[in-house]
Symmetry: D3
Subunit: 335 residues, 6 copies
């Protein structure tokens, strides 16, 4: 069975145990839902209309995260939160106030909106990427040491872009990011690209990674949680979108990317891992959405806990074994 | 706390008590739902596919109303109904047969469809406005004295228009109406305008009142119930539409319009008051719709009962205190 | 009361009894749902994401069928299944492998996708029609004797076409098919046409039958189950689509076609017979869909069991009396 | 031969002779072009990018007009002009500065843009209508006595509207206007309506007159010059639009409206009178446009001079005999 | 050099000489325009707005043809015409009145519109195919012996279809037709298919031939003149469409189809043969269109005269040597 | 009068004299056309369908350039060319074969298409930017020393982007580029952004410069020639697009950008400088296009020669005085 070779939170001296529930008896699903879903309701904090598509990491023996909390104007905001167990969360009612990293970054520091964050421990700090409003959506980049104060760097790319996801370490000396160029609306297309940077500010050497194909991923695809380093390559959980006559349906699946040249797809699972079928995925502010933004792993056991948004309304949790997903992707690969 | 200065049903000698339920314990919501929702099911009458977006008023010590009842062809119809308590309704199974007001009005009296009615006591009669099919949607105008016979006047405007809402009295000697120019489809835009008339037949002096902005009201806005006269100006409950990747979402909020020149917005609440989150608002013939068409008030207590359509399928009820809404709008105003 | 003059499964020596549940007490509905709905869940077989829009017939004293099973790639597949009682089904986990009828048919035998099948006993075999992917959707034609091996003939028409439905016998010596020319997407239009063939391979003498009108059938219409031969003409159950601001809504109704010249509509019921209002029709992979593909009848009693897809996710069952539907269509005809 | 019964410029004591050129030898055209076309070039005045779709009337023994002059920002403006002979024009380089009619009209007097004017002598002054920018296009109304100072009244209608054309006298005591409700873009639809007003400020009793049909007028239609009073009814020259795969094509034709109830179409010519075929109609800022805004007549001879825009770039002139047009419309009527 | 193996007008005992002009000095074009273009002006007959996209054949020592003449309503009509030299044409001012072939065909004989005809000598008569309006565009089929009386058969296909082009003889005993399934508007897609028929009434065994690719043929392709039989296969001249930001551009190129199985493309020329660059192709009712519908050949010399429409307005002529085109296609093939 | 402070071709020891023609007598235009237009015909080289939107620079006492030559497949290609006088050009018939700059660049060196080039002398070489096909349009970057061999570097940005224009020197030590993020089609939007790079490979610190406004630049804007350094800031000639009902119209105007922080617009001229009004701009492969890609200047005289594409078909030349443009922009600024 495939192994996690490098956990992304290896800096944690006493990593908190994963939230975990065993696979339901009789099921042979590779990914299964928490019985406690949704683990965060839409109105956990007074200011929120909905909380979903959020990113969590291990932090100081517990957990911390950056949460997409649409407020009651339905404006997209980012909020910080913490948890002892990864299930019960305390989220600040006030949104994150980004401090500019330097005088230049101050020029773009006027916050319009932010959504769909990802968080990764990168060298010496937690780096946050998100969809940041700057004359349209693009990839915001910032960091925090303590989930109390947050610093904003330059946007990684020109508009229009979404789903910027960093790798958890430099690759051949360069920082690396996946992203999905888009347009300024509900974008009926979208492929995953790879970009490199020496400094997290200037980006280049852009490469196409993989595009929309058919079925559940016929309209567009976008990277989900931070890629997980395994002995078979980078395990990428990603979302795919199908357009029915009644709109978009967001499911998620997985692929394995080359270790050294991650824009090369080694295996790509044809079936989805999880499609919106539970009531909290079927109905909500946007029906039929399951959108993963974070995954926590336990290297020893191979367990993985996937945090995903349900119906653009609530935060949900699903479980899997990394080794089983790797095996599933290899056995059902379109590549 | 702000006061209702002029109830729109002051002509009622013994006004019926409002339907009312107190705010749920522990809630700090400004508007809260009835526990009995939906108060009118989609199939209350044999001919109806759905009953929603309807208008009620106090009438002879009880209540009466004009109801949007889409029939089983899914053609939009208007039906009259009455109620002792505002909760249990008797709606006629046959649609309203409009009688022409005069020989001229007879020329446009061929009923194609009617929907989203509003009703207001105006001087000496109940005046009904609705979206009337005449080579496209426009604002129909008619009246009744008894909710048994109904008389149709001229359409107020050229097509295409929806959400025509009269003020409950003349302003500076002129009748006044809010409306939302639209197009002939599912109109992806829409602002609220103000028009004047000396005779309810000829309209002019059109003024822009307010437009779509962002968040829950990014796509279009339209007046809801008859404006309520308060010491802070006209309280306007209005719907707003957000376009998700899966379609329109209808919520409602409030604004305060100038007393003398109602096209001037004094305050406009940025957050919504109620968004579609209950099951009967989330699913139905059109998912994620909360659409208010009427509000009854009790001047003494400041209580308000808002009638709104749920998911274009059923009639629902929500409650609030007028003074609290006024305070909320002023405290959260974008103006 | 109108009679079924020629059951389409008269070849069955001991026809299985229909699945049947009486009309609920107090209801006056012409068509009513099974209390056991959905009778086939979305995950009856391991490979399926959903099972819906499927066709069943009587077969050797029981029942057999061809099922639309979208797999976990969300690719549309056809599977064979059998049942003792029409309610509990055994569906093969592997899709149907079509064998080419001859050397020519082998040229188009590369299966891309198949969906929305219909099945009819025609002279000496069960003929299957379905929406077949060949450079876009068109009408696939094949047959089986035993629901174990299936043979593919030529596609009936050029792309783009859907909802090809055969009549259960030759009419004036010619095979006859209804179909709905479409386009390659979610087709916002669609009328029903009639075509003739001497050999099930070459088709011509195409006639317009009926088009979209308004209300529940304003966007498009398509034939549903195999037409039923009655003393009033061919009873056609068909689906209609309404476009709300949140997408398509699929309901179904009925019409009576001329016996000799079935492209002439004798009566067409204005109201729908069933619209998506049950939870399993309201939510699912495509909300608000009720899509009929098969109907079984009992000539003696006039009972009919209609198999229809719910929300593009599950198989459902509804019941009616043929005579009552005929009477309803005649009493509520727009023709 | 049909007669002009009431010239619209009967107030002129010594009406200027019409510009006139005889029908080319060998031609049997009902309408023929001036050999001097375009009579006004796109850059007649320094500030203009283009001059087209303009309205002229007889004025003090000569001619005056209101001209659409798009400036070099390509913003649409209205300019006044005068001419001795109707062919050589002096147009002011500065746009018309509208003075508000009263304190109310001052509220809407902030000029955004104006285009496609019409001018008519109405009782005691020249009344101008145009497409006026007020939160979208609607019908501006103003007047002048001398083509030097211009006064703006209230907009006639709510947005969105274009092609507002007044009748040259009251009908049954009411002012009367044709207009074409539209949307805020390049409107792919459009029908002609009739509205009445007691005071040129409040409008009502709206009636559908005629809609788009097919061929050259398949997409939309709009009134052109001021209707001409003949013994067969009001002669209406109107434009029609056909949508080719390369955009809109504007031609013009004619109809005869009932004298007393002008929303009733007595005759409507199926063929166009003039389609864009000359080089100055085929190419320009908008290819393939012939758009009439004014017609001058000589009651004695029945001659008519039609001013129309060519390719949204220049002003052109065409000639006809009113009696011949009336005869043509009657002989080729679709009504 | 490749040879014409079977001229399509071999039945002509004394075939008229081709219209012909030599390649201009200095040019190395494979296809070159007539210096007399347009050879038929838009107003050759009194009733025509435009004459274009027309089909001609050799007939009784001269030439005859079926012409698309849009009338002055801009309704599409078919007219018959004759010529001594193929350059000067006499076209009837009245459209073709189709007589039904039999009682069945009479059911569809109500002429709505017809356009883009092709004509081929097939066995014993001239068979005409065209885009025929029957609840949308489809392929009309008819025949004539004398270009005086014309008989209409059944439409070949269900709507929506255009550019039906017959092969000039049976292939393996079956009639054969190319066509381009489309939709009901300006169809932004379109591929060429092959269909067979035993009787010109029933069609089947549909095969995909070739689709849109890129460049001048990126949007859609459609068969042009009747295929020409050469020793390298069927030479197919076809049009291709590119979508610029200002609409469709129609050019034409060529391919070679397999002799026995014409749905197999042997060679397909990547560059166009002729693109709209002459003034009469650049401007007109639809700018930038060159659309071929007929080609005459002289087997002895290999000369070819191609009739094509210019700008949807006029008929033009271009010349080539069949052998040179074949060589060009083979030398520049994308297959 | 404003001065050119730093000519972009100061490396030329004996700079060739500009092509030049004086302003026509009687004209007061700020920019005027060459009487020799188009200076390069569409078919200058055998392989070209059209030559337009091309970039020229001074080179070794004469001129050199990179030309957009769409070939006869209508595929977009880049060709090199040279000229003695800037008017008569020798363009290679074979397209530029890009050599990869390094092993990494070789990964993206598979040429799909290239168009709308710009060329600038940057430090020690001529750097070329263009719209490069890499899974959609993005900004290609390369260089040449001799216009014989060309080297390709990394694409500057992720797709989708067009109109990448480099500044002629580093600004505060960083390379600087303007570009216009777009989408993959005919993009109905587009603003100009500024990006920085330390190495021409990695780009960041993206800033919004200016967006579409109204009139001739209502739909989108994009940088044209290399910005010109003047004592009033960077003079930017840019194109703007207006969407008529018949498609896009491309004109050009000018703005002045801050010297140190070029994303700050100091002045922006509201009127256009040149709009498509000449025949070779009005008709061609894309009607109504004037698209500038290069400007040569003579610092001593202030003369400027602007190379622009006409109707996406030919290369044209216009003239101006830099000082006059600067004065015009300041006098007519919207900023």
């Amino acid at each position: 069975m495939s192994q996690i070779t490098q956990p992304s939170d290896a800096h944690e001296t006493t990593p908190a145990p994963l939230p975990w529930e065993e696979r339901p008896a009789g099921s042979d699903a590779v990914v299964w839902r928490s019985q406690r879903n949704p683990i965060i309701p839409h109105d956990l904090i007074p200011s929120s209309n909905s909380i979903f598509n959020s990113a969590v990491v291990r932090y100081q023996g517990g957990f911390a995260g950056v949460f997409r909390c649409d407020d009651k104007r339905r404006v997209m905001q980012l909020h910080a939160g913490k948890s002892r167990d990864g299930l019960s969360w305390t989220i600040k009612n006030e949104r994150i106030q980004w401090q500019p990293h330097d005088r230049k970054a101050a020029e773009i520091n006027d916050f319009q909106y932010g959504y769909d964050p990802r968080v990764v421990w990168l060298e010496d700090r937690y780096v946050v990427t998100w969809c940041n409003g700057y004359h349209g959506p693009t990839i915001g980049v910032g960091y925090t040491h303590d989930f109390e104060t947050f610093t904003q760097m330059e946007n990684a790319f020109l508009p229009f872009n979404r789903n910027g996801v960093l790798f958890p370490r430099r690759i051949k000396g360069q920082y690396a990011m996946l992203s999905r160029p888009s347009d300024n609306g509900h974008t009926p297309f979208g492929d995953i690209y790879y970009s490199e940077s020496p400094d997290l500010t200037h980006w280049g050497r852009h490469r196409f990674v993989m595009g929309a194909t058919d079925g559940w991923q016929a309209t567009k695809v976008g990277a989900g949680p931070i890629p997980i380093e395994t002995d078979e390559g980078w395990l990428l959980i990603y979302h795919g979108v199908l357009t029915s006559c009644n709109g978009f349906v967001y499911s998620f699946g997985a692929a394995l990317l080359d270790f050294e040249e991650p824009w090369k797809v080694r295996y790509r699972g044809e079936p989805y891992l999880l499609a919106p079928q539970a009531p909290y995925e079927r109905t909500g502010d946007v029906p039929n959405v399951a959108f993963p933004c974070a995954a926590l792993t336990d290297p020893a056991s191979g367990r993985m806990a996937i945090y995903y948004g349900g119906a653009d309304t609530v935060v949900c949790l699903a479980y899997a074994y990394v080794g089983e997903i790797v095996a599933f992707v290899k056995a059902n690969s379109s590549v």
